[in-house]
Structures are given as C-alpha cells and as structure tokens.
C-alpha cells in the first residue's frame, strides 16, 4: 500500500509488509539515514541497533522528536506519516529540480470546478496535517486512507454541524435502546453484537433512502399515467 511513496523516495523495495518487524526497522533506519537526517550521525546509534529490545523505545522518542502527531501505537498510520514526512523533506530539498515539471494545467471548467474536493491532492502533507488536526478537533478516529477520513469529516459536519442539521436536530435524536434490536446473529461478544446492531441500523437507513427514492420515482411516473375512474352504474351487490 506504500508502493508509490516508496517509489517517490527511490527506495529499492517496491512494497513492504509493515507488520514484518525486520522490514519495518530497516525502513525506519533507511529513512533517517538517507532522507530525513534529523539526528546527527552519532545520535542515530539507538535507532540503528535494530536487534535491541530497546529499539521500540528509541523509535517512540524519534517520532516525538520529529513532532509526529501520532503516538506510534498504530503502525500503519505512523508509517504513512513518516513516509509522507520524508517526501516533504525530499521535495523541499529538490524543489528547484521539480519546478519545470509542472503538471498539465487543469481546465477550470467542467465538474472539476464544481467539486472543490476534486482538486485537492489528499496525499499532500499539508492536507494530511490539516486532516489530523481536524480529526483531533472533532474527536473522530483517523483512517489510513485520507479520503476515507475526509469523507467521515464531511459526513459528521453535514449530519450534525451544518445549519440544516442543527435545525432538525430537535425532531431527531431519538434515544435508541440497542437491546431492543435483534442483530440476527450472535458473535458471542456483547460489544461485537452491539456493533452488529449499529451496522444493521445504518444499513437499514440507507435502504430506506433508496426505497424513498423508488417511491418518488413511481409517484413521478404516476403524474403521467394515473387516471383512476369509478362508475357507480357498473356496481351490483350480490346475494
């Protein structure tokens, strides 16, 4: 999943398994030695001692020194951040070189212009840093894929914080007792079962929207076709 970032950094590996401890430590060492160069060479000893049990501690200190907003517990997220950080530094150094290579000018018309998000480069470090601070501000968890994070933020704002949502909030906001709903399966874990129930409710919500759209379509067609008639003269009561 980090293929393109590794490529941008001219790393010899095409991709790597973030859960492989060896690969991971090698990558961190390589990034510091070749790209980030935050510590002086003699200060890198702890980070270079990859077989030591003290390495994780050294790594946590390292990312703190780099002012990484993450605590290091989520390896995927921290890997993504550190690669992004390295690319930002790399770009800063070689900015002159890249200057000539501006992408083809984007046409301002068409759907691109209508959708402000279409022009955002989500992999840019600035956007990511922005997302991270938005997440901590809104108190929602981050996802490795910045687009997913962005979508989550957009949903929260649309459903909870926008003017429309704030007006409607009084009608909504029914407190739901999850135990009233059947998940339809038993995961043998109350927390998982509750999660299942929540997923069911979210799914039903989407289905309801779809069914409402279907009904609206039928009603739209009815305005063209419907012409109900009755003729009392035809009626006859039996015996």
């Amino acid at each position: 999943m980090f293929k393109r970032k590794l490529q941008a950094l001219n790393n010899p590996q095409s991709d790597f398994n973030v859960n492989d401890e060896n690969c991971w430590r090698n990558l961190v060492e390589w990034l510091e030695d070749q790209k980030i160069r935050f510590y002086k060479i003699e200060d890198r000893a702890d980070l270079r001692n990859k077989s030591s049990t003290q390495w994780p501690k050294a790594f946590v200190k390292y990312i703190q020194d780099l002012q990484c907003p993450l605590d290091g517990s989520d390896r995927l997220a921290v890997c993504d951040w550190i690669l992004g950080h390295a690319i930002r530094l790399e770009f800063g150094e070689k900015a002159q070189m890249f200057k000539g290579e501006v992408a083809a000018p984007q046409s301002p018309s068409g759907p691109v212009a209508e959708d402000p998000f279409a022009s955002i480069d989500v992999s840019s470090p600035d956007v990511k840093a922005g997302l991270v601070s938005l997440c901590s501000l809104l108190n929602i968890p981050r996802h490795v894929d910045p687009i997913v994070t962005l979508e989550a933020i957009a949903l929260l704002i649309k459903d909870r914080l926008s003017e429309d949502a704030q007006e409607g909030e009084f009608e909504e906001g029914v407190e739901v007792d999850l135990s009233e709903y059947e998940a339809g399966f038993d995961a043998k874990d109350p927390v998982l079962n509750d999660a299942g129930r929540i997923l069911r409710l979210l799914h039903i919500n989407e289905l309801r929207d779809l069914q409402t759209k279907i009904n609206e379509t039928i009603v739209a067609v009815q305005t063209l076709t419907a012409n109900p008639k009755t003729d009392q003269r035809l009626g006859k009561v039996g015996r």
Binding site: I214, T230, K236
Partner: protein, 508 residues
Amino acid sequence: MAATVREYKEELKYLNKLSDNCWQIKKGFVDNMKVEGRFYVDSKLEKLMFEELQQACRSKGVGGFLPAVKQIANVAALPGITGYSIGLPDIHSGYGFAIGNMAAFDMSNPEAVVSPGGVGFDINCGVRLLRTNLTEKDVKPVKEQLAQSLFDHIPVGVGSKGVIPMGAKELEEALEMGMDWSLREGYAWAEDKEHCEEYGRMLQADPNKVSARAKKRGLPQLGTLGAGNHYAEIQVVDEIYNDHAAKKMGIDRKGQVCLMIHSGSRGLGHQVATDALVQMEKAMKRDKIQVNDRQLACARIHSQEGQDYLKAMAAAANYAWVNRSSMTFLTRQAFAKQFNTTPDDLDMHVIYDVSHNIAKVEEHMVDGVQKTLLVHRKGSTRAFPPHHPLIPVDYQMTGQPVLIGGTMGTCSYVLTGTETGMAATYGTTCHGAGRAWSRAKSRRNLDYQTVLKNLHDLGISIRVASPKLVMEEAPESYKDVTSVVNTCHDVGISKKVLKLRPIAVIKG
C-alpha cells in the same frame, strides 16, 4: 387407493406428543409417507382435532372430508416433499390439503410436485390492513354511516360486480402486472406496493395460461369483496403487546382505528384451480404419480402442466392484489368523504398485505444446506424473520407483519415472523380462526337473527348482502382465534404485536 381403516385406538399409536403444543404424525399413519407430519395445537384445539379423527373412525372413512390429521399425512406421502408436512393451529379439512397445511417440495428433485389442492381454490386469498390516524372516539358517532358508505362503495356477495371500469385488455394487463397495474392507473399509492408481500406482483405470471372462461368470470368482479368468509372491517387497536414493532407499523396508541380487508381472486382464481385439476389428472396418469387421495391431484413442478399451473396461479395472485388494491382505493374514498378530508390526511397507509393461499419458490436451509423449495401455503401465512431480504425495509428489525383475521365479531391479531418459525415451519404461521363446524352444521344449529342480535349487542355495526347465511360465519362456527394465535406465539413461530377489535363489518 383405499385408505386404511383402523380403530381409533390403533390410530392413536401413530400420534405422539413431542411438546406442550406440538404433535408428531409417525410414518405408517397412512401409506407411502415420505416424511413425518407435525401439527401445532394447544389443549383446546387438540380436542377438536382428535374428536374429528374419532368421528371419522366411527364412520369407517365413509362420507365427507377426511379428518385434517389424515390429510396432513396424505400430503406427507406426496413425491419430493421435504422437512415435514405441517399443520398450523387453525387447521381444518379442505380439498385435498387441509386448510392450515404447509408443505415444501424440493425443486432440485425431478419427482417433486406442485398441487393446486395445496394452494386452494381462492388463489392468493389474503388480508390487508390499513391504518388511520383516527381514534374510536372520532369514528363511533358515525359508525353506521361509515359501514353504509363502505357497503355502498365495495360491492359484496355472490354475483356482485365492481365499480371500476375494466375491459378485456385492462384485465390482461392486470393479470400480468399485479399491483403495478393499480399503481400505473392511479388506484394505489407507491407505499402500498412497498408494504405488500411479493411487492404485489408475481413476475412469473402469464395471462396466456389463464383460460378464457376464468377471465370471463374475473372481468366484472374486480373490486368486489366476494362472499363466504370475506369481509371488510373497521377495527380499533385493543391491545399492544410489542411497542417497538407496533410503532414501526404506525400504531402508537390503543383505540387507533384500522381497516382490514379480507378477499381473494374471486371466480378467476377458482376457475384457474379447476382448470389445472383437470390437466393434472392427465399428467398423473402419464407420469405414473401415486397419491393417497384423488383430491391431491398434482403434476411434477418441471412438467408442462406444473409450469402452466404456476404461471396461471401467479396471474390469479396478481388479480387478487389488484382486487385488494381497488378495494383499498374505494375504502379510502369512503373515509375521505365521510370525514371531509383526504386519505393522505387520514394517514391511510397499508400496514401490510399477506397471502393465505399460494405456492412460492423460496430459499430455505434444509439440514444446514441452502435449498430452493416450492412452498405451498394453504390457509397459512408466510412469516419471515427480521433481516430477511424479501421483507420491506420498515420491518427489517421487527420481522414480517402477519395479519390474522378473526371472524365476524371476534378479534383479529397482528403478529411478526421469527427465526424459530423460519427453521421449524419454513417461515409459516397460522392464518385465522379456522372453521370448527361445517357450513351445513352452522346453518342447522344457529339462527341468523340471533347471530345478528349478538353482534348488535357487542356494538358492532354490520352490513351484509345475504343475512340468511351469516350463521355460517358466526363466531360459534369457528375455532377460537385467540387460542390459535397464542399457540403460534407460545411455540415461537410468530410473536404477538397487536390485538384488534371490530366495530363495523361489511360482508357478502
């Protein structure tokens, strides 16, 4: 094939009580049983079942219908049956299959059959429930006028004719399209389709498989209620057992007024069944299909006759949905006129619409393996559990609503489907009270004036086309609907949500 005649005491050896409300019919009770039988009864209903069997033993199997237990067993002897032949608590003798019998046939078995007797003559006879936002208080003062207005809008009785103009071409379209026809023509609301079993249209319907005779009978009858046990009732919510499920159905208080329409496919469905029985007798001879009872005429599902019947049955089912939709339209008009408002403002939405007499292709788990079955439900109702993909989105969390019509003057119930029922009865439960007495016995033993007076004393307004036949439908002629419903609830094949009490009835 002659039925084995045994002493009552001998017969009892084949019947075994498995639990409080469930009985087993062992193989050997009748010849050739492929699977065992099961029936669900409480102590009260149990007595009726056994009296009927005892009676038949005394008369040595001569005359009248076979007792329901024998009929369940004969169905268990049909080729390709899977699981059990199941009797629901409201079971009583019928043509071939008992009314209240569910039997499923394995589609992957080339020998498996479809039987018109397993569907019944009134194809897709069913019940529809509408809600309103009125309360008993609003309706009581105008109850008589409303009953009269409904009677004026919905033609009832044998030989009645409908007020919706229909030509031969419209009928063909209605047979093919079911409720989509009603929608297109503007007799139904978009939401009605959403809250109808099968979305009000069986896609395999083929009007070309319906005989000219059947169409001729069906043409003038569209939008008519019919006779027999069919009725339209104004009811009020008497009891709410499950608040959450009731709320999902738009019922939030006792005394809320609802409307129940119980009707089917009229003469058209009857003719489709009759035509098919003739064809199937031929097919049975050709394919050498053995059955215990001549009334169990059937054909292999994949034979020409089997397929023709299923396509014609689907068309008749579509007719029944158009019929109930047309009556819904007329009912909405009657109410709107009476209260000088619109059906929309009265919130007259369809809660649900169930089929009682139908055969459907469904997916079920059989011994842990998913199989495609042809499920015959005669006098029984589909009751799918929560999260089943074929039930409306609004009922995904509660399970499918099951509408149990009582009889004149008694209560009706709304239940929901359960997982237990899905496993035990292929998602099937009871359909109503079920006859306890034959029509002839009711006529002999009851006086129509007393029956009408009793209803009047209960505060029920009644409009009826043929008062001299009301004793056939009197509460005394039927099993106790509360017993039937409680048995289903206790066994767990469906759960109680609402109890409804009638305040006005119109019938044939």
